[in-house]
């Protein structure tokens, strides 16, 4: 069963969306997606809903948000760390791919801006027996990757800073993006060190907002729009719980395995040639570099050159995060769904920061302390090759 994305909606993302409550944000994103698809709420047969409760301080936000997205409909809640958004997309996709439904919706809401500090929440994701005392959060593990990568491959602080320059430049073209500022390499290097070697402008913000994606079975998709985004392949993978059980911090082995699986299923032999645009989950500069290498866009140790040499900029060979990416907007549990929706919009030819002629897009999210990955290939063509 071929399945396509037929609608995408997102809210404006800000530090605080004080104008709306939790379900009101869901309502905003859902209506945007329905409008994009030309559908009504009653048309949606089932809903997959994603959020991570502790960031918002609301246990079971699906109770509150079901009033906006699931009343009387089958509803399933998904929560897998930073991958939540994309896992929710895949749950809604699989509802259709299984043949059980023809029209489903993925909805994700997260208000990280309402949590005065996300790191203590992230710290509770770490083992309470052996590791939590160390004050570990997401930024620390990203810094572990940066330290190891820089030592192994002689990457410089400037190499990493270029990723930030590129993402911030792209965010300026995206009205939904949270952080909008033109930054130079010097601005990045001169921003304060948060967790060495990562500096403030190499780290994502905390964002409030929501997103929704509508999926349709093949016949229905063709009736809804003439430019649906087909889901060509998707996969997820999990890795060890303890960081110390995987000592290759300079590489992202689990992502490499997932990438090979995805490309095999999609019929992609050379990702750097066959994929036109990528929306990667990189809340920290170093991670885009590791992701480009793990996914085969760059050789090991070469990813550090990509932003500096313009390869990942809009006019480069592999435009990466045209939306401005996670570095500029991070409503954590909704972020993966934004990656997925933005990738779909690129192959529909309707993205705000459109890559000319994009036909094949890659969407990625990671979650936990580097534990999970979710990947998907979307295309304007039903099948590649």
């Amino acid at each position: 069963m071929r399945v396509a994305v037929v609608g995408f909606g997102q809210t404006a993302f800000r530090t605080k969306r004080k104008d709306k409550t939790h379900p009101e944000l869901a309502f905003e994103a859902i209506n945007a997606a329905l409008e994009h698809a030309g559908l009504e709420f009653k048309d949606i047969e089932a809903v997959a809903y994603g959020s991570m409760d502790p960031f918002d301080g609301i246990y079971c936000p699906e109770r509150w948000d079901a009033t906006a997205c699931g009343l009387e409909k089958p509803i399933m809640k998904i929560s897998t760390g930073g991958t939540t958004g994309m896992t929710t997309a895949l749950a809604a996709y699989e509802h259709v791919a299984s043949g059980l439904f023809d029209l489903t919706m993925a909805v994700c809401v997260q208000r990280v801006g309402e949590c005065v500090d996300a790191q203590p929440v992230l710290n509770t994701a770490v083992d309470p027996i052996y590791e939590r005392y160390s004050g570990l959060g997401a930024i620390h593990v990203a810094s572990f990757q940066a330290t190891a990568y820089m030592a192994k491959y002689n990457a410089t602080e400037e190499d990493l800073a270029w990723v930030s320059v590129k993402d911030h430049k792209n965010a300026l073209k995206n009205p939904y993006a949270h952080i909008k500022m033109d930054v130079s390499v010097d601005d990045v290097l001169n921003s304060r060190v948060v967790c060495s070697p990562l500096k403030l402008l190499e780290c994502c913000p905390r964002s409030d907002g929501a997103a929704a994606v509508i999926f349709a079975s093949e016949e229905i998709a063709k009736k809804i729009r003439d430019n649906p985004a087909w889901v060509v392949a998707e996969t997820t993978i999990s890795d060890s719980y303890y960081l110390g059980d995987r000592l290759s911090f300079a590489e992202w082995d689990s992502l490499a395995i997932a990438g090979r699986r995805l490309f095999r299923d999609a019929g992609i032999e050379r990702p750097e040639k066959d994929i036109d645009v990528a929306e990667l989950y990189s809340p920290f500069t170093i991670q885009e570099i590791l992701e480009l290498e793990a996914l085969g866009f760059a050789e090991k140790g070469e990813g550090k050159e990509f932003a500096r040499e313009g390869v990942t900029f809009m006019d480069g060979d592999i435009p990466t995060n045209p939306s401005g990416g996670v570095l500029c907007t991070n409503p954590i549990g909704a972020t993966g769904l934004v990656r997925f929706g933005e990738a779909a919009m690129q192959v529909m030819g309707e993205a705000k920061n459109q890559v000319d002629g994009a036909e094949v897009a890659l969407s990625h999210a990671w979650g936990g302390t580097l534990q999970f990955h979710t990947l998907a290939v979307l295309s304007s063509k039903k099948k590649l090759g």
Binding site: K18, Y133, Q145, T147, G244
Partner: protein
């Protein structure tokens, strides 16, 4: 119109069981010993110990003592204050102890942490480090105060 906001706290006590394996590890710390378990199938020594090897999906029951010296795999120094987390600056790293096949998360110390570049130079990946134990040990992970460079 100023939108109203309501301050809410999640401050809920829990008691997490360490289980039998971790309890034995903590008892070992009290005696100044770092214990791990060897997986009989893949032969890996897991430190800190746990009751099963996730790669082999097999129970672990062979206890081994590992060294309190090892090598740095990676590190970071935190300079920003995060709610409820240690006061900055603090250095955290992953250390692979001699005799272990996995890395252990721990504090790094014994040097000035104010300049991160110097800290990264002192503790660069591959550097040998040794545990600095607390004099009064309570059978907690913090019985190892931090790891310092081996002179």
């Amino acid at each position: 119109m100023e939108v109203k906001e309501f301050e809410v706290w999640w401050k809920i006590p829990f008691k997490h069981s360490a289980g039998l394996h971790a309890t034995k590890f903590f008892e070992g710390l009290k005696d100044g010993k770092i214990l791990g378990v060897r997986c009989e199938r893949c032969g890996r020594v897991l430190v800190p110990p746990r009751a099963f090897c996730e790669r082999c999906h097999a129970e672990t029951s062979e206890w081994v003592e590992v060294s309190d010296e090892g090598v740095i795999e990676t590190l970071t120094v935190t300079y920003m204050k995060f709610t409820g987390l240690p006061d900055p600056p603090y250095a955290v790293g992953v250390v692979k102890l001699d005799g272990a096949d996995t890395g252990m998360l721990c504090f790094l110390g014994g040097i000035d942490l104010s300049d991160w570049r110097k800290v990264h130079e002192t503790f660069k990946p591959g550097t040998r480090v040794k545990a600095v134990w607390r004099e009064k040990r309570e059978g907690k992970i913090t019985d190892i105060e931090y790891f310092r460079p081996v002179q």
